[in-house]
Symmetry: C2
Amino acid sequence: QGTRDHPPAHMALRDRLLATVVACFKRHGAAAIDTPALELRETLVGKYGEGARLIYELQEPGGELLALRYDLTVPFARYLAMNKITNIKRYHIAKVYRRDNPAMTRGRYREFYQCDFDIAGQFDPMIPDAECLKIMHEILSDLQLGDFLIKVNDRRILNGVFAICDIPESKFITTCSTVDKLDKMPWEEVRSEMIGEKGLSPEAADRIGEYVQLHGGLDLIERLLQDPKLSQNKLAREGLGDMKLLFEYLTLFGITGKISFDLSLARGLDYYTGVIFEAVLLQQENDHVEEPASVGSVAGGGRYDGLVGTFDPKGRKVPCVGVSIGIERIFSILEQRVKASGEKVRTTETQVLVATPQKHLLAARLKLISELWDAGIKAEMLYKKGPTLLKQLQYCEDTGIPLAAIIGEQELTDGVVKLRDVAARQEVRI
Amino acid sequence: QGTRDHPPAHMALRDRLLATVVACFKRHGAAAIDTPALELRETLVGKYGEGARLIYELQEPGGELLALRYDLTVPFARYLAMNKITNIKRYHIAKVYRRDNPAMTRGRYREFYQCDFDIAGQFDPMIPDAECLKIMHEILSDLQLGDFLIKVNDRRILNGVFAICDIPESKFITTCSTVDKLDKMPWEEVRSEMIGEKGLSPEAADRIGEYVQLHGGLDLIERLLQDPKLSQNKLAREGLGDMKLLFEYLTLFGITGKISFDLSLARGLDYYTGVIFEAVLLQQENDHVEEPASVGSVAGGGRYDGLVGTFDPKGRKVPCVGVSIGIERIFSILEQRVKASGEKVRTTETQVLVATPQKHLLAARLKLISELWDAGIKAEMLYKKGPTLLKQLQYCEDTGIPLAAIIGEQELTDGVVKLRDVAARQEVRI
């Protein structure tokens, strides 16, 4: 339940998608790492808030309490602390596990890939953060998924807003998760939840509402830096200062056109400490409405400066910022698109089929195909002693093999091969 | 316990190794598939003989009984039966799990990669089987692991030998597993185990010994086909006939030089029904003895015509033959070799570091690196506002970046970039 086999057509599309993502990660100088799918249960406990109940645990009679990893970020932080690594730029593509109620039509699985890029280390502010946004921008552009928008915010700005609206600090995180719903429900409903479920006063909710509905660019940052109340809050001032710096760098990268400083962005996870970001695909005007998978969040991330310290016996911190590409959602979109277009995805890369028109020439086929393999050419033949030429050419058409190398009696005598362009139905003797 | 993190240096070497293996699988027209790491427990039960106790089970309160996959062959057979696939050539590279006593110095882990290529379908005899041996030969040659030998046998020949030595059929499998130890212990010890532990008569053991110590090529096959007793056994006759055909095909492939028909090869798994094979690395004369990882089995496989049928409600059979590359063992060998050679494995592919000799040129670096990324060039920069040129060049040397693109005041004024060959210490203005 909640898992699936990936047949060759899936894998071919998935490999194409991952190749684009990995190429971008490598272009930015990232190294690959891998960690076990199994972690000690205690490593995962207390990291995912309500997500904790979704962790898969393993029976290990008389041994360690184990669990399947829930994401790649916590294992990364554990890896850094365990190996005392204070400086690394890495990517990691691997499966994670969540004992969730599967909703496979909406792309929610119990086993799925995550695809993470992170920069760990003590650096000058906002330079790695800007690179993470550049990476999101490059990948979404390279994949040609259509128009997109990258929302950016900072946990320190949000916390500053809550503080000047007189929200007690104990309610920051829960208020955050209500704010985060602004992309799915109108302000009125979010306001009701703040008052009804989270117990904020209507006045506090309204004051929060004035801020979290704002979005813009450098102009908005400047305006908030002048805001008489917000500019008094130390955290907010730091966050806004860094946001300004970030926008300067993004301007140099030439990507501010698709970036929005959006105060409604909050992100679910507890461990973020600074900049947070999320990329959404924008519904095209000519899009069909029955394609719900074509909108929504396709990448996200942020800064988490405290997580590595929780795994270090002395609490030594390693600042980190990273981005996670929502590969499963992007895969669904690409798959729908391929289906709609009627494009036939080849599942193999075979260049040539070695074929014979007569029945007793298996030996000639075996000899020729062996030479082709040894020369590095991707070649197949049918595993029959005497298949008909029609069947062999049909196999080429079915699987998209562009060429057939045909050897019959005459070719053997003449010491040549007849090379046939399957689509054009043209032959040359070589 | 029994698992490990793979740091960047591991991953770089591993990616190199897997690229060679995947290139070979694709050269032979295989498509990729993936299956979940989680399987229903009942799928795995009864497939691995004594291995069953090593299966990892999962807590799933009130739900399905789950287990982590133990190999890739059983999930492949389950996949074929479930999707009624009767014809496929696929490869699968993924992690498998065994709750074994870890012996990490000997490369025995609880989580490790398997790397399988299989051909499923009803075909003319020995053509796919020969291709599996060709694949082993290509991969071991491509990886330049040193001299190797591929041992080949057939379960039907072994069973025929047991039958004419009057072994009861109920003891075939257990006798098989004793025979399989002939590569690690002398005949005398194997004989003792047959008599002492397996309860065979000394005469029966001696008669088995006459056969299972034989190895050779076509000549041996011909001799056994003339053997007055063995040739009377139907199974053995079929096996020997197919072995002869196999050697004909291997001759056409030009690889018999490294193939040995070896009657001591038995292989552990229960599900083999025909040809079985195993590749071993041969100790070089000038090898150091303290490198024990450099000998032993590095690939194996065989024909299993009954496994898919066990998952089909109507028992419909899909004949299969496949090969598994022992990627973990090969990785250990390559790792030792890299260590011994002192070669420094690059963990990133960065082509150029964008550097500045003066302190206030961060903006220039960000602009230039952004252009390089957009042009598809792998580029890095230090995440500092004003790093010294020495530090920047040192970073190139530490990480193997071949070029530095340097922009200072003068270059900015002239509209050029100074491109430095780090190793040669030569610069050109472009």
